[in-house]
Amino acid sequence: MVSEKLRSVIRAQLRLDASFPIEEETSAPRVPGWDSLAHVALLAAVEHAFGVRFRTLEVLKLRNVGDLQALVDRKLGG
């Protein structure tokens, strides 16, 4: 389940309008503006919003928003 907070961070960072659907299976190539250059900045925004830090290998394993949510949850839970 993708949290509203993560959705709004992604939408704000990529300047998407509030109705743009963001689900677990949403992946970068399907989202306007979410290219490889924007990706690093987006992850920094997520880290900042949730007060977490991602490691290099964790970042490289992300395939979609569901993975990103799970990573955030793991960081917050652990």
């Binding site: 309008d17 743009f20 992946s27 970068a28 190539p29 306007p32 503006g33 290219d35 490889s36 250059l37 924007a38 990706h39 690093v40 900045a41 920094a44 830090r53 490691r55 290099t56 290998l57 970042v59 490289l60």
Partner: protein, 562 residues
């Protein structure tokens, strides 16, 4: 040494020092795979044999479309060993629509005369129809990385014949783009080896050097500086996956630190990414003392990007004199100019208003100053002239088009005589770049042509305009695409202005999204879409919307909604 083919040079390197490291193949989170010269050339010979067995003949163009893979290097060398012409193509980004990928590839195949596609099974479905298409030059699709080549010795490949002609073509490079209209530059063995020798002299390359690179090899900077150069000069190169690097820029610093690399080539945006997008905790234990030269190349060099890089990494051993720059293009094999190693790139402050009038003059008002970074002086065998619109040479400090004469100059775009004639005459190449000189140092300040450079990659506004024109609701042909400075990332971003009857209506938002999606389908991120009313765009004398005239209006905010 005249009269050599690449293969001769490589086998000589292997004979001299079979145990010396040639290529360190880097994958995040894994132990790197180390190719030593003896094994690398032996494996390349096996690939040569396998390719010949599959039907590849000397002179055939073999295009590779492969991801980061340890067997790529001997495969590439094996193509050369078979006497064929290697051409590295970009592996399709997941954003690129499959039909656009196929369209681009078939255009390239036709125009450049591609004969074989060497790729991965994942792309078979998309690539296979090219072979069957009527009139196609593509004879076959091969999956060379699936083959078990065995471990035994292979017979000497075609290129090992004594007296193999060094003036035969060895590689074909494409300009960037996705539309199939990419222009191909063909280079001979002699041209590559001569250029690499000249460039090695310009950077003082020596046996103690070690290169680290994340650059893709379908681009001249990656292919020549970080692949042909180290192979020809037997300098080890550490190669990273470009896809991994862009998601985790710290990987390059890790590779430099662990492998004690001395040299790296980077487009300007990479300095911003490294300075701003790496966590302190990821830098623990990393040192950059080994670096003697970082070469900023492939997009305009920004003083601010160098300053940020230095501020961030001086505490980790990065020295100011390592921040160099280079001006390069595929048409001259690679480098035209290079800053002196062991000295930081020279910087001059000029007056913005004077610069716009074509004069690099000292600023009268600090508020109107622009800092220009030198790309260095011409490398051996190269000359740069600054010329006015009428072709008249200009003196130092005057802004004009950069025209290059080089012994590494290409002899034309493959199969494109008109495009060649437009830029090449009497051994001089008109670059389309604008710049000025100060005491032989070349400063590149802009472009005469409308190309947009995003993160080191050239985009052609026509390609974006065509894609956007096809979007329902956009008035066909009433579109301009512009490159606008992206200060935070140290590169440019793409803006689009499209005329539509939907201007000012609720439907304009949906149209903006549709236009962004059309950009994504050709792997172009449109950072900003401006929907204009019909007849808003100013036309040029040729009747097409003028990029230059409309750019000024857009930047002045004429289309901004309150």
């Amino acid at each position: 040494m005249a009269g050599e083919q690449l293969w001769t040079r490589w086998t000589e390197n292997a004979r001299r020092a079979p145990e010396r490291e040639a290529i360190v193949h880097w994958v995040a989170g894994e132990e790197p795979f180390r190719w030593r010269w003896g094994d690398l050339v032996a494996q390349a010979a096996r690939f040569s044999r396998a390719l010949a067995d599959a039907g590849v003949r000397p002179g055939d163009v073999c295009a590779t479309i492969l991801r980061h893979h340890r067997a790529f290097y001997p495969l590439y060398m094996g193509i050369s060993g078979a006497g064929a012409i290697a051409s590295v193509l970009a592996y399709p980004n997941p954003r690129l629509h499959p039909s656009k990928f196929v369209q681009g590839l078939s255009g390239m195949a036709r125009r450049s005369g591609l004969r074989w596609i060497l790729t991965e099974r994942a792309l078979e479905q998309q690539v296979r129809p090219l072979v069957e298409a009527p009139g196609s030059t593509v004879q076959g699709v091969l999956f060379p990385l699936e083959r078990d080549l065995g471990g035994g010795g292979a017979a000497a490949p075609a290129a090992a014949r004594p007296g193999a002609d060094p003036h035969l073509p060895c590689l074909l490079q494409h300009s960037s783009g996705t539309t199939g209209l990419q222009k191909a530059v063909v280079l001979s063995h002699a041209a590559v080896l001569e250029h690499v020798r000249d460039y090695a002299a310009a950077i003082g390359l020596g046996p103690e050097d070690r290169i680290a690179s994340w650059l893709p090899l379908y681009h001249d900077m990656g292919l020549i500086a970080a692949f042909q150069l180290p192979l020809a000069c037997a300098v080890p190169v550490v190669t990273l996956d470009p896809f991994e690097w862009i998601s985790a820029p710290v990987l390059l610093l890790e590779a430099i630190s662990r492998e004690r690399a001395t040299l790296s080539w980077l487009p300007n945006f990479a300095y911003n990414l490294l300075a701003d997008r790496v966590h302190d905790e990821d830098l623990e234990g990393l040192r950059l003392d080994s670096v003697r030269l970082l070469v900023n190349c492939s997009e305009p060099v920004r003083a601010d990007s160098h300053a940020r890089m230095l501020a961030r990494y001086a505490p980790r051993g990065l020295r100011p004199e390592t921040l160099g720059a280079c001006y390069a293009m595929a048409e001259t094999t690679f480098a035209v100019t290079q800053t002196a190693p062991s000295r930081p790139a020279r910087v001059v402050e000029v007056d913005r208003d004077a610069l716009a009038r074509g004069e690099a003059a000292p600023p009268r008002d600090p508020e109107r100053a622009r800092t220009c970074v030198s790309s260095g002086t011409p490398i051996p065998g190269c000359e740069v002239e600054v010329v006015a619109d009428d072709g008249r040479p200009l003196r130092d400090g005057r802004v004009g088009e950069l025209v290059v004469a080089s012994r590494s100059l290409f002899d034309g775009y493959r199969n494109l005589p008109d495009e060649t004639a437009a830029v090449l005459s009497n051994g001089r190449y008109r670059t389309g770049d604008l710049g000025f000189r100060v005491e032989r140092e070349v400063f590149v300040v802009g472009r005469k042509k409308d190309v947009i450079i995003v993160a080191g990659k050239n985009l052609y506004p026509e390609d974006v305009e065509d894609a956007v024109s096809a979007v329902e609701g956009v008035l066909p042909g009433r579109v301009v695409a512009l490159g606008v400075a992206d200060e935070a990332l140290g590169t440019e971003q793409v803006w689009v202005v499209a005329e539509s009857e939907r201007h000012g209506t609720a439907a304009a938002d949906a149209l903006r999204t549709a236009i962004q999606l059309a950009g994504m389908a050709i792997d172009v991120t449109i950072a900003r879409v401006l929907v204009a009313p019909p007849r808003w765009l100013i036309k040029s004398s040729a009747g097409k919307p003028s990029r230059k005239a409309n750019r000024e209006r857009v930047l002045a905010g004429e289309l901004d909604v309150p």
